[in-house]
Structure formats: structure tokens, C-alpha cells
Symmetry: C2
Subunit: 153 residues, 2 copies
């Protein structure tokens, strides 16, 4: 009764947040690939966190970079194969593997920091300075909501 006709037809894919976020992300990935062909965003994020934190366990590193432990392992393996990170067992906890940058890893990271900053700039280029601040703010607020209740069942 009183079925609103344009809501019945009204799921437009192109207006859904998820669809738009996926495309915004695609554009960012394209920019990243153009500016830093040597690394993927997750690989570079791993290098950056290791540069910041020193030696970290694999799971910890996954948490810091917002990656699943299974995903993290793959990233570490590929970086290790290229000689950019190394792992050694934690003497105080036999389960843990401490991951750290090698000399080559530190150099590779330093070589790409400037490009990484340019990537962020180019990604936000379509927005005005005030909008950029707001966009980042909105993103942070959305992420902060870990497991909220949702609006309505």
C-alpha cells in the first residue's frame, strides 16, 4: 500500500557509496602505479611502517598497516625475496618473527618517499585545499566506527 514508485525502481548503482569508493580507489591505484612502479601500495605501506617502527612482529605489522595476517605474509615474502626486509625469530617469544628493513630496504624506502607524497597530492588534486582537509576528516570518521550497530535492521 502506497508503494512509492521511484523507490521501487530506485537502486541506482552509480549513487552507492561503495561503488564510488571503489572507483576513487581505482584512480588512486592507477596514480600510484604510474609514480611508483616498483612497489604496490601495500608493499610501500609495509616499508613505511617498518621504517617508522624498526623491528615488529608479523601480526603486529599487519595491524599497523591494516592487513590480514595471511595477506601480510604474502607481502613480507615478496619483499624478502627482493632482499628488502629480513626476519629473525624473537628470542623472548618463540612464536614471533621479527621483521625489519635491510640496508637495501631502507634505501628503497628513502628513494620513494618524495614520490609517495606526490601520489597523495595528485590523488587529492581535484579538490580544493579546504575540501581536501574535509575529505580526509570524513574518511577518518568513517574508519573510526569499528563495529557500530548500523542504523536499522
Amino acid at each position: 500500500m502506497a508503494q512509492p514508485a521511484d523507490q521501487a525502481l530506485g537502486y541506482r548503482l552509480d549513487e552507492q557509496v561503495g561503488f564510488l569508493m571503489r572507483q576513487a580507489n581505482q584512480r588512486h591505484l592507477a596514480i600510484f602505479g604510474r609514480r611508483i612502479p616498483d612497489f604496490t601500495p601495500t608493499q610501500f605501506a609495509t616499508l613505511a611502517k617498518l621504517a617508522e617502527l624498526g623491528s615488529v612482529s608479523q601480526n603486529d605489522l599487519g595491524r599497523q598497516t591494516a592487513m590480514d595476517s595471511a595477506t601480510m605474509k604474502g607481502v613480507i615474502d615478496r619483499l624478502a625475496r627482493r632482499g628488502l626486509v629480513s626476519s629473525r625469530p624473537d628470542p623472548s617469544d618463540m612464536r614471533r618473527l621479527l621483521i625489519g628493513l635491510t640496508e637495501a630496504g631502507r634505501a628503497a624506502y628513502a628513494d620513494h618517499v618524495a614520490a609517495a607524497e606526490a601520489i597523495s597530492t595528485e590523488t587529492l588534486a581535484p579538490l580544493s585545499p579546504e575540501e581536501r582537509v574535509q575529505f580526509l576528516d570524513l574518511l577518518r570518521r568513517m574508519i573510526a566506527a569499528r563495529h557500530s550497530e548500523g542504523t536499522n535492521p
Copy 2:
């Protein structure tokens, strides 16, 4: 000489757009998986576009849903294996495969539209109504920039 000390150390991963967008997307994917366990976002996007457009060629469908043709093929194959879409050759163009929803596909889509709308609502829940509008607007503006030149080499 006047080297700004906090810019020298100043690549903070947690402040980069790409890193934040990835996490926002992760949260959305988690919400999606909870509300619609039967489909992935890309699969549902495909069903939605087919419901809207009728019969479309595979490449065309990929463009409409912002997917690579290789990716699209995988999605179509999995949906076809479940009997939700069917394909037949285009009589007027022997290269093309026309993809369309089956009865089961139409029903599955209809069964999940309400949940899909709830997903968008829940994803945007941390924001105020005005902020939601603005967030979507900012996303659209970023996407619109296809292959801009970037700010500075």
C-alpha cells in the same frame, strides 16, 4: 639551512589518502559481507546493472561496473555457474556475448535490494546527513578526473 625537522621525518602513513581510503573500503566490505553473505559487492553490482540494462555485452558490462574485462569474465563465470546469468552470442556481432539475468538471477537481485540500500546507509552512518551528501560529492569529483596531469613532477 632551515631544514624543517618535522618534514624531514614527515611521511606518516596514517595520514595518506590512499591508506585511509583503503581502510574505509575495508569497513564497507565488512558491512557488505555481513548484510549480504550470498554475494560480493562486484557480483551484486553486476546483477544490478543487468537488471537495469537488460542484455549487455561482456565488455560493456565491465565498463558500466568499472571492472576490467578479465575481472568481469571471472565474475560472470561464477554467476553463471550458479545459474543467475546466462550468455548467448550476439547475432549482429559474432565477437560479442550478450549477458542477461535468468529468472533466478532476477529473483536473487530483488531479494537483496533492500539489504543493499541498508549497506549504503550503514556505511555512511558515522556522518551527518549534510556530510553524507558532501562525501558522495567529493568522491564523484575525484572520480571524474580521469587522467589529469598531476600537480608537479
